[in-house]
Symmetry: C2
Subunit: 318 residues, 2 copies
């Protein structure tokens, strides 16, 4: 099963990282790259936090807390306790070990490295062989517009636990952001596939696709374009994707995820519980691959990654 | 035992903090202030660290690790371990809880607060009622000149464990530094006493005295000026003071400490093991008070503080 070019996985945090981990057992590190959303990066307590990159790096390094899906296993929280005693801001969970990542990233960024280089340095230090490209080296700030007013993404997501009703999104800086040199170089050659991980379409994947003309560029450079639906049986396995769809007046279905990406994707992997939506999705001109998409165990992750590759090869032959 | 005005204690880190803790049990919080050296403040990993202020605050808050004399008790070191895995700089010991202080201080400084205000905020958050004034709100950087070339103070002190041979000191920024508004206000009234804690004369006390005309100002504003010798039996209880004196060609004796401060102090508290130096010191025109100055227990600290007050009252009557 050889093919020319690489697979590019677009990923947000937890769900994307699970698929990427599976992919790392199915393809070797030269066969694929990951483009990570940085739209929910933010500066907290003076530290540059890149939640999606961190989740990817920690997951690939085997350091992630698998129960939570984010942050480090065997984490301690003594910094946060002491910060509370000092009257500091403690709504964002910063573990003692995790803090090293943010402090070191911030230090390297201040010394003049761009986020691409810093991500390489930190991945490499933790022995991660998979290539992770930040979507851009420029700052992009996601604002979630809600019935209670606009909220910085992490305020919406962590502090307010996704409770406010979503009315839309704004991505400050996205209009000026450019893809990184690494992404441009990737798109300069014909590649095997673009694979959209089961991440939040609105706040994880759209920011990536909306950088400059990246959506069109990926469409041209990649022979096959496919997505894995993050919506399974009407709900999101992790995060507020389904809630957001409902609040935006969109049915929270795999079909609507497919419609969201229509014009870009050739195929979508959906869960077997959504098998009855196949005809509806295929009527959009999008092929479907129905399987078990919930990734609880490492075997689930490897299995889904292998099926994505199988589907890529199938779509490439069409 | 009432007197007009306050006592101002000039302090570096561990030794000074011990005397200040004793003083806090002898005087009430309206009767004295502490002026802390900030010449060994530095920015590490992007964080503003104020070692002497931290030691004072932690000691007064009852949080200090008494065995080490600095840092927090029940500290954990998981941040540092994770930073090591990332290839970061780990020569400076940053505990997980201690980090909260540096992160919050840095955040408040970046938001526009000066170090005076930040010190008040952080002291107050930890329930410290004693007033601590940084010597200045401007950056001062201590360089230790050694036979191997100049070293930033913390490189000399922590990284290189005071091993290099000292040839001199430089204090970058000291020529432009001004005393804080609080110190100027303090010196605007007649005060009870200036008490130089048993801190390092070269790198803890001199930076304070050499700010602007602070030495002369204290001399005028304070009725009585006295010091406690940090040199006991030819050695320093903590830190490199004795080693520095020897390397600078000065005998490491209480007499030389007295000589170092001559022209400013009226009296010096020396240890009973140095009792034979009384005549020599008094020949400099400096009165002596001989007692046990090693502060191991809380009773030692209270005892020495009480004796300093007794000596202040004695000197005031002369």
């Amino acid at each position: 099963m050889t093919s020319d070019g690489k697979v590019c996985v677009l990923s947000g945090g937890v769900g994307g990282a699970k698929l990427v981990l599976g992919m790392s057992r199915v393809l070797n590190s030269e066969e694929f790259v990951v483009v990570a959303n940085t739209g929910d990066d933010f500066v907290h307590l003076g530290l540059h936090v890149s939640p999606d990159i961190d989740t990817l790096v920690y997951t690939l390094a085997g350091l992630v807390d698998e129960e939570r899906g984010w942050g480090l296993k065997d984490e301690t929280w003594n910094f946060l306790g002491a910060l509370k005693d000092l009257g500091g801001e403690t709504w964002f969970n910063l573990g003692d070990k995790d803090l090293a990542m943010h402090v070191e990233r911030t230090k390297q960024l201040r010394s003049g490295c761009n986020l691409s280089q810093v991500t390489k340095n930190l991945s490499s230090a933790l022995g991660v062989k998979i290539t992770i490209f930040p979507m851009t080296d420029s700052p992009v700030e996601t604002t979630v517009e809600t019935d209670g007013g606009p909220l910085a993404f992490q305020h919406y997501f962590v502090r307010d636990k996704c409770n406010p009703k979503v009315t839309g999104f704004k991505f400050k800086g996205l209009d000026k952001a450019r893809p990184t040199d690494d992404i441009n170089k990737f798109n300069g050659e014909k590649q095997r596939a673009l694979l959209i991980a089961p991440s939040n379409p609105f706040v994880s994947i759209d920011p990536i696709l909306h950088i400059s003309n990246l959506k069109e560029t990926f469409k041209e450079s990649c022979r096959v374009k496919l997505a894995v639906s993050p919506i399974v049986g009407g709900i999101a396995i992790k995060g507020p994707a389904a809630k957001m769809m409902t609040e935006l007046g969109i049915p929270s279905t795999a079909t609507e995820v497919a419609r969201h990406y229509s014009g870009l994707i050739d195929g979508i992997v959906i869960d077997e519980v959504d098998g009855e939506q196949v005809r509806q999705i295929e009527s959009l001109g999008i092929k479907t691959f129905v399987t078990k998409t919930v990734m609880s165990t490492i075997d689930d992750k490897i299995g889904l990654a292998a099926e994505c590759i199988e589907f890529i090869d199938y779509l490439a032959r069409k």
